[in-house]
C-alpha cells in the first residue's frame, strides 16, 4: 500500500488549529497514501471535523503545512480544494432535486458558448463515470425520484468525474439502509481500483473494519496513531485508542424492575404496524429492535400520539389521548429520531430548550417564571454532564452527544414517567453513548419506565431488560435479556426467519 517512491496523496505536518480558548487540532502530522481507503476515527470533539474543514478550505490552519502529492496546498474555499483534486461528500446531500442526474453531474462544469449550454464530451465522460461506479442509475432521471443512497452515489460520481484524486466522505452511511451501505462500499472499492484515494469518516467502527485500509485515530485534537487496519486487533483496540479506555456494555440484570404494568398497548395497527401488543412495566427498560422499516419509529410515535393508530393504549389505567399534548400531560415524553430537526430548537440556548415541554407548569397566570428556568437549566447541565461553558450557548453549537443530552433534559424536565427514546445515541460518540446509557439506567432505577427504539443490537442488548423484536410491522418475539443470548437467533427473527427465539 505505502509506496515509498510516490509522494502521499495528501499529508499534513504539524497542523494546529486554535479557537478562542481551545486548541481543536494539536500538532497533527500524518500521510494518506494514494489509492487507499483511509479511515479517520475519534470521538466527537476529537478534532475530526476541524481537520476536515481545513483540508477542504472551509477553515485556515493556525499553523502547519498541508500537501497534495507532495506539493504545498493552501485552499481558501471548497472550490480551491476541488481544483486541487480534493472533493468532499458532506453529511447533508448537496444535489439539486429539481434537475436531472446528468444536469447534476455537470453542474458548474458545463461547456457554454455565449452563455448557452453546448453539448460536449464532458457529458459522455460523466455518463461513463456513472456507469462505471453505478450502472443502474439512469442519467436522464430526475434526482428527486432517486433514493438517498443513489443521490449520494451521484455526488460521488460528480466528484470522481471532476477529476478528484481524493474524496473525503463524512459519515456517508448515516442515512443508508444496510443493503445500500453494501452498495456504497462496492462503489468505494471501485473508486480505489481507479486510483482514487478515499478519506472515510464514520462512527460505525464495523464499517471501518470492513472497508478501510489504513486508520488514523484522533483524540482530544491530538494524533494518536496511523496504521494499517490489518494490524488493528478488532473494534476493541480501535475503541481503546479512541477513548483511551475499554467500553464495557455488558448487561447486568437490574433490581428496580417491577411487575406493575405502566403501559399496555393492544392491537396497534396502521399502514405499517400489524396488530402489535405489549406491556411495559414500571422501572423497566424495554427495547424495540428491528431493521429499517420494521416499525420501531411508528410504535414510538403512536405511543406519543404523534401518529394515528388503531388499537388501544392504556397508560397508568387511563387511555392515552391521541395528541402529543395529551401524551405529555399524561407523563409520556419522546426523544425523537432526528435530534436536530425534531428534538431541538437549535437556534435557542440550552437554558431555553430545557423547559420547552413544561412551560405551562412554570408560569403564573401565563407569566413565565424565568428563575425556574434558570435553576432547571443549571441543574440538568450538571446532572447530565452537558459539556458547555455556559447555559446561554446556542444548542446548534454543541456536539451531537451534548445536543442529545439537552433533548433528554427537556424530556426529563417534563416529569415523564415513561420515556420513549428513538435512536438516542445516533451520531453520538462512544464516550457520550456510555454516559447516555448511565442516565437511562438511573432513570429506570428511580422508578421511571424507558422504551428504547433502536436499530443497534449492541445497544439494546447492553441496557434493555426485555427486548421486543420487530419485523415488517409485526412484533415477532419477546426476549428477556441475560447471559447466553444468541445473536444469530435474534438476527434470524428480525430478518424474517421463521424460527422464534426460545427464552
Amino acid at each position: 500500500m505505502a509506496n515509498q517512491h510516490q509522494s502521499p496523496a495528501l499529508s499534513v505536518e504539524g497542523l494546529i488549529k486554535d479557537y478562542p480558548g481551545v486548541r481543536a487540532v494539536d500538532d497533527v502530522s500524518f500521510s494518506i497514501e494514494s489509492s487507499t481507503v483511509h479511515c479517520l476515527v475519534g470521538e466527537n470533539g476529537a478534532g475530526k471535523s476541524t481537520l476536515i474543514k481545513m483540508l477542504t478550505g472551509a477553515l485556515q490552519p493556525t499553523q502547519g503545512v498541508m500537501k497534495v502529492n507532495g506539493v504545498a496546498y493552501q485552499p481558501n474555499s471548497t472550490q480551491d480544494a476541488r481544483e486541487s483534486g480534493i472533493a468532499t461528500l458532506f453529511q447533508e446531500l448537496h444535489v439539486v432535486d429539481e434537475l436531472s442526474v446528468l444536469e447534476n453531474l455537470t453542474l458548474g462544469m458545463e461547456q457554454s458558448r455565449f452563455g448557452f449550454v453546448i453539448h460536449s464530451d464532458l457529458e459522455d465522460r460523466v455518463i461513463q463515470t456513472l456507469a462505471t461506479i453505478e450502472p443502474s442509475i439512469n442519467p436522464s432521471a430526475r434526482v428527486s425520484s432517486l433514493s438517498v443512497a443513489q443521490k449520494q452515489i451521484i455526488e460521488i460520481a460528480r466528484a470522481a468525474s471532476s477529476g478528484a484524486n481524493v474524496i473525503i466522505m463524512d459519515e456517508p452511511t448515516a442515512a443508508l439502509s444496510e443493503r445500500e451501505v453494501e452498495r456504497l462500499f462496492t462503489v468505494i472499492r471501485r473508486l480505489r481500483e481507479q486510483q482514487v484515494t478515499v478519506v472515510y469518516i464514520s462512527h460505525k467502527l464495523d464499517e471501518i473494519l470492513t472497508l478501510g485500509d489504513v486508520v488514523t485515530v484522533l483524540r482530544d485534537g491530538k494524533h494518536i496513531v496511523t496504521k494499517p487496519l490489518s494490524e488493528v486487533a478488532g473494534r476493541s483496540e480501535l475503541i481503546d485508542m479512541m477513548i483511551g479506555r475499554s467500553l464495557i456494555q455488558n448487561y447486568t440484570p437490574r433490581t428496580a424492575v417491577t411487575n406493575e404494568v405502566v403501559l399496555s398497548a393492544k392491537g396497534l395497527s396502521n399502514s405499517l404496524l400489524k396488530n402489535v401488543s405489549f406491556d411495559i412495566n414500571k422501572g423497566e427498560i424495554v427495547g424495540f429492535y428491528g431493521l429499517v422499516g420494521a416499525g420501531k419509529t411508528e410504535i414510538a410515535r403512536a405511543l406519543f400520539g404523534a401518529d394515528k393508530v388503531s388499537g388501544s393504549i392504556v397508560f397508568k389505567g387511563q387511555p392515552v389521548g391521541n395528541t402529543p399534548k395529551q401524551a405529555i400531560a399524561a407523563g409520556i415524553a419522546l426523544v425523537p429520531e432526528e435530534r436536530r430537526t425534531q428534538g431541538l430548537f437549535t437556534n435557542l440556548t440550552i437554558r431555553e430548550n430545557i423547559p420547552v415541554m413544561n412551560i405551562r407548569r412554570m408560569s403564573d397566570n401565563g407569566v413565565f417564571r424565568s428563575s425556574d428556568e434558570l435553576t432547571a437549566a443549571v441543574n440538568y447541565v450538571e446532572k447530565l454532564g452537558i459539556a458547555t461553558n455556559s447555559i446561554e450557548k446556542h444548542t446548534e453549537k454543541l456536539s451531537g452527544g451534548n445536543q442529545q443530552k439537552v433533548v433528554l433534559a427537556k424530556c426529563l424536565f417534563s416529569d415523564a414517567d415513561l420515556l420513549l427514546l428513538d435512536e438516542p445515541t445516533r451520531g453520538v460518540d462512544v464516550g457520550a453513548k456510555t454516559e447516555i446509557y448511565d442516565i437511562i439506567k438511573n432513570l429506570a432505577d428511580e422508578g421511571n419506565s424507558v422504551a428504547l427504539f433502536s436499530t443497534e443490537l449492541e445497544e439494546v442488548l447492553g441496557i434493555c431488560d426485555r427486548i421486543f423484536l420487530l419485523y415488517c410491522g409485526s412484533l415477532k418475539s419477546v426476549i428477556i435479556n441475560g447471559p447466553n443470548l444468541d445473536s444469530t437467533d435474534i438476527l434470524n427473527v428480525v430478518t424474517g426467519g421463521n424460527k422464534g427465539v426460545t427464552q
Binding site: F116, V117, V292
Partner: protein, 343 residues
C-alpha cells in the same frame, strides 16, 4: 456485530398519468375557463361582442389588456425558481410608466424612450439585487423597501397637482404612445402583446438552454449544492433581479400605452397578480421548480377569468371568484404533487 441502519425515504416513481397531469394540467384549466365562459351568457356588456365569447374581438381585447402581466410573468417565474421574490414590481411598473410618458411627451422618439425606460427598469431591478445579494437583506423586506421607494420617486416626478403624465394643453402624447398597446400590428394584436410573446420566447430559451436557466434552478433547488459546484449564486440572483426589473418596465410601458397616460400608481397590486400567475403555473414557492411557459398560460387564465367575470357577475364578486378558482387550482396541484411525492 452488524451495522445500524436508518430510514431511507425512497420516493415512488410517479405514474405516467400523474406526470401527464403535472405537465399539462395548466392547459386543461385554461380550456375549462374558456369553455365555461363561452357557455355562459355573455351578451350583457359591451366589452364583448354579442353571443360568443370566442369571438375574435373578445380574444384580442383580452390579450391587449393582458400584455403587462404577460411580459412580466416569465422573468418573475425565473426569479421565483431561483428561490427569490420581488414585491417591488408594481412600483417599478409605475415609475417606468411615468418615465416613459415624460420622455414621450417631451418629444423623444419611440425607440429612444422605449430603450431608456427598459434600461431604467433593469437598473431598478439591479438595485433590488444589490440589496439582496450584497447587503444580505431578506428579499421580502428589501423589495418592500423599494416598493415604497420607487413609488415615492414616481409620485415626485409627477407632482404639481396632477395625478399622472398625460396630454395637457400644448403638450400632446405622440400617436405612437397610444398605438403601442392598442393598435393591431399583426393578427390584430398590438406591439405590446408581441413584445410579451418575444420576451417569453427568449426567457423559455434562456431557461432551458442557458447557464443562467440551469443555475437559477440549481440556486433555488439547493443553494449549497450550487455554491459547492462553483456557481456564483449571488451573480445569478443579481442578474435575475435586473431581468425582472426590465420586464416590469416593459409591463409599465404596455400599461401606460393602453391607458394613454403615465400613472405612478398604474402597477399597484401587480406583485400579487404576478405571484398568483406564477403559482397557478405550478412554480413552487420554495424554488427550484417552475416553467416560464406555464406561467404565461397561468397569466392567460387569470386575465381571461378576470375579464370574463366582468360579464357574468358584478365587479365586486370578481376577486372572490378568482380566489376560489385559485384555491381549486392550488388544491389540485397539491393533490397531483402529493401523489408524486408519496413515499
Amino acid at each position: 456485530m452488524f451495522k445500524s441502519t436508518t430510514y431511507n425515504f425512497s420516493r415512488t416513481v410517479p405514474g405516467q398519468a400523474a406526470l401527464f397531469l403535472r405537465n399539462y394540467y395548466i392547459y386543461f384549466v385554461l380550456i375549462a375557463v374558456i369553455a365555461f365562459l363561452s357557455l355562459a351568457n355573455l351578451d350583457r356588456f359591451e366589452l364583448f361582442e354579442r353571443g360568443n365569447f370566442l369571438y375574435e374581438k373578445n380574444i384580442i381585447n383580452i390579450l391587449r389588456v393582458s400584455a403587462p402581466i404577460l411580459v412580466l410573468a416569465g422573468a418573475f417565474t425565473l426569479l421565483m425558481v431561483s428561490g427569490y421574490i420581488d414585491l417591488s414590481v408594481g412600483s417599478t411598473m409605475g415609475l417606468s410608466a411615468v418615465i416613459y410618458a415624460m420622455l414621450a411627451i417631451n418629444g423623444v422618439s419611440f425607440w429612444a424612450a422605449f430603450s431608456i425606460t427598459a434600461v431604467c427598469g433593469a437598473l431598478l431591478g439591479a438595485f433590488n439585487g444589490l440589496l439582496v445579494v450584497r447587503f444580505k437583506i431578506t428579499p421580502v423586506i428589501a423589495t418592500l423597501i423599494t416598493l415604497s421607494l420607487f413609488k415615492g420617486i414616481a409620485l415626485l416626478l409627477v407632482q404639481d397637482g396632477v395625478s399622472a403624465i398625460k396630454s395637457m394643453g400644448d403638450l400632446r402624447m405622440p400617436q405612437w404612445f397610444n398605438d403601442y398597446g392598442r393598435e393591431g400590428v399583426l393578427m390584430g394584436l398590438p406591439m405590446a402583446f408581441w413584445v410579451a410573446v418575444g420576451v417569453t420566447v427568449v426567457l423559455i430559451v434562456l431557461q432551458n438552454r442557458s447557464l443562467l436557466g440551469k443555475y437559477a434552478a440549481a440556486t433555488g433547488g439547493n443553494p449549497t449544492a450550487a455554491k459547492l459546484s462553483g456557481i456564483n449564486t449571488s451573480m445569478i440572483v443579481f442578474v435575475l433581479y435586473a431581468i425582472v426589473g426590465m420586464s416590469a418596465a416593459l409591463a409599465g410601458i404596455a400599461r401606460a400605452s393602453f391607458m394613454s397616460l403615465g400613472d405612478p400608481l398604474s402597477g399597484d397590486g401587480m406583485e400579487l397578480t404576478a405571484i398568483l400567475v406564477v403559482l397557478i403555473g405550478g412554480t413552487a414557492f420554495s424554488g427550484g421548480e417552475g416553467k416560464v411557459l406555464r406561467s404565461f398560460i397561468g397569466a392567460l387564465i387569470i386575465m381571461t377569468l378576470t375579464l370574463g367575470m366582468l360579464t357574468l357577475v358584478p365587479a365586486y364578486y370578481q376577486t372572490l371568484v378568482i380566489g376560489a378558482v385559485l384555491l381549486g387550482a392550488a388544491a389540485s396541484n397539491h393533490f397531483i404533487s402529493r401523489k408524486d411525492h408519496a413515499s
